[in-house]
């Protein structure tokens, strides 16, 4: 097409400004698509963290709070669940399995989770995938620990190493359970979930390391050695939360209601999938704000392009005049400038999209490793194609603005050379 070729040639003549404009549009397109990718990636990472668990039981609190501290290790429990209540729930006829979770201690900033060996078989992530051991196996001895892959990597642990658990959850702790060190019994394979950042020990071990403690500190002169503690009754008094699997999904709501109405202790039973949806409802507003901001950036880039074309218009009066002299109608001039806007935007969109995928491809392993966020490199979705097409359309329309001005100018001062 004649007009497109002319527009291209004219742009080549001003390639520095043209390239900058294309880059500005490309960046804005990358941002627009990138925000969407991160949003869906974050959602999937969260949703992939827990699967196959029907209910999570904890002390009475909001469902989000319970979900966040029990599964994502974010925040803290409002209260504990007594061992008696745990056993009551475990003995309900509908319950197929129940896994206790006990939080509160840490190791170099990584959370220590007290649980039992069932945890490794029943906890599922990413559409029902089970955990697997990169080396070693589940705990056999009282003072055995199983660590997530990030813990092993960042602290350089291997099976057989001795570790000391600190009291509390700060990354620097002043009170340590130094008298009862743990042995690394197993290292879990990478899961991309908070498990990677967790040190797992048995519930009994949690009880054992606190047995000679009172009011959150060791009692002087009353220490119980690691060997003595093995002979003591280590039945836990309380746990933080429990994951429950049911024999039939049909019983979910019934069991949930029964736990919520449990008379002896105020408990909350939540459905993890439902609580996650609630979370999306909350963060949805922030996500919308992000999309709006990225759309504004696109608008700004287009505005920059219009400014660029408009400012060069004056210098290009000669160009227009020559075009008119060789028989171009004012309509051709109009088409030429509109095509210029469209072309610049199209180039920006293409460069931006290619740039985004190249960036994703390069940064994906790093993002997965550092943030546990697996960003999918999917082809563009239909709604993204629509977005991109409408940006090109908007660019073409924005090009009409200087085009109309040029159209009017070319009618007015056509061949006339002002002195």
């Amino acid at each position: 097409m004649m007009i497109v070729r002319l527009a291209l040639q004219s742009l080549l003549n001003r390639w520095v400004t043209a390239v900058l404009t294309v880059l500005a549009i490309a960046m804005s397109v990358m941002l627009l698509l990138g925000v969407e990718k991160v949003r869906t990636g974050a959602r999937e990472s969260f949703a992939d963290t827990i699967s196959g668990t029907d209910l999570i039981v904890g002390a009475r609190s909001g469902s989000l709070n319970l979900l966040l501290y029990s599964v994502f290790r974010i925040g803290n429990a409002t209260n504990n669940v007594t061992w008696k209540s745990y056993q009551d729930i475990a003995s309900m006829p509908e319950v197929a399995w129940i896994v206790p979770l006990s939080l509160g201690d840490s190791h170099h900033g990584f959370r220590v989770l007290g649980t039992n060996a069932d945890y490794f078989t029943h906890y599922k992530f990413r559409h029902g995938q089970s955990m697997s051991f990169a080396s070693g196996g589940p705990f056999k001895d009282l003072f055995d620990a199983v660590i997530g892959s990030d813990v092993a990597q960042q602290l350089g642990y291997k099976v057989g190493d001795k570790i000391i658990v600190a009291h509390g959850v700060g990354s620097i702790s002043f009170v340590e359970h130094a008298d009862k060190p743990f042995r690394v019994a197993g290292i879990l394979a990478k899961t991309g979930t908070p498990i990677d950042r967790t040190v797992h020990v048995s519930l009994e071990a949690i009880e054992a390391i606190h047995i000679d403690w009172q009011n959150g500190a060791p009692v002087p002169g009353e220490s119980v050695s690691a060997d003595q503690v093995r002979k003591m009754d280590l039945t836990p008094r309380a746990i933080t939360a429990a994951m429950v699997g049911l024999k039939s999904k049909l019983a979910t709501f019934k069991v949930q209601r029964r736990i919520n109405d449990y008379q002896e202790e105020p408990l909350s039973a939540i459905m993890p999938g439902v609580a996650l949806q609630e979370l999306w409802g909350l963060v949805g507003t922030a996500e919308t704000a992000l999309s709006v901001v990225s759309a504004m950036v696109v608008a700004t880039a287009l505005l920059g392009m219009v400014t660029m074309i408009l400012t060069t218009l004056n210098e290009r009066r000669r160009e227009m005049a020559i075009l008119r002299s060789v028989g171009a109608t004012p309509a051709t001039v109009l088409g030429l400038l509109a095509a210029e806007g469209g072309l610049l935007t199209l180039a920006g969109v293409v460069v931006g999209t290619v740039g985004l995928y190249a960036g994703l491809w390069l940064a994906q392993p790093y993002i997965d490793r550092t943030y546990g966020l697996s960003l999918a490199i999917d082809p563009l979705r239909p709604d993204e194609w629509v977005k991109l097409a409408s940006i090109v359309g908007a660019g073409f329309l924005a090009g009409l603005l200087p085009a109309l001005r040029a159209y009017r100018l070319s009618l007015a001062d056509g061949m006339m050379v002002r002195i």
């Binding site: 039939s248 999904k249 019983a251 709501f253 209601r257 109405d261 999938g273 439902v274 949806q277």
Partner: protein, 189 residues
């Protein structure tokens, strides 16, 4: 501290466990006019649903029905709610049929399964709820892609239904509203 005070405080302390034993268990669920809850559990060919809606949404009042008109309104509403596949329409291709449908209207303070006593004073203001449980079987459950509801056209007071879903594929939560009386189940089926 003299002996008298010690004895007095001991007496008070001793009295506390007794008080605790006598204390009734107080517990009340949320009750928001305009909002009902629909729980759906699907496994294999079986679907179990439970609907809890404030009386305000269904019949426009929450006291015990006294006039003939009010009694008729409650009965009519119960009849409509019992026809579950009309209130909550599943795709025809799923070939579903109702096994059981149980609708009751009860005072909110009642525990599930507790028998409704009829000694409520007529006309006394209180919160009451409609409670419906359904069992449905579907020959082709794989065709259940979603649900359409006539709940909002049937009951003028209903504004929102919070829907909780659990299936063997996963769990989700969604809202059905007067403006959007549909539910998408493709993600969990």
């Amino acid at each position: 501290m003299n002996t008298k005070t010690v004895i007095a405080s001991l007496a008070i302390l001793a009295a506390f466990p007794a008080l605790a034993e006598q204390a009734e268990h107080r517990h009340l669920g949320p009750h928001v006019h305009g909002q009902g809850t629909l729980d759906i559990a699907i496994e294999g060919k079986k679907i179990e649903m439970e609907l809890v809606s404030p009386g305000m949404d269904i019949v426009g009042f929450e006291h015990v029905a006294t006039t003939d008109d009010q009694k008729a309104a409650v009965e009519k509403a119960k009849g409509k709610l019992a026809d579950v596949l009309n209130v909550f329409q599943l795709p025809a291709a799923a070939k579903c049929k109702t096994e059981t449908a149980n609708v009751e209207s009860r005072k909110e303070t009642h525990q599930p399964g507790e028998k409704d006593d009829d000694d409520d004073k007529p006309g006394e203001p209180q919160h009451s709820e409609f409670h419906a449980t359904y069992t449905i079987t579907c020959e082709a459950p794989e065709n259940i892609t979603g649900m359409k509801t006539a709940y909002f056209s049937d009951f003028a007071g209903g504004q929102l239904l919070n829907v909780n879903v659990t299936t063997s594929k996963g769990q989700t939560q969604a809202q059905m509203t007067r403006e959007k009386p549909t539910l998408d189940l493709t993600g969990v089926m």
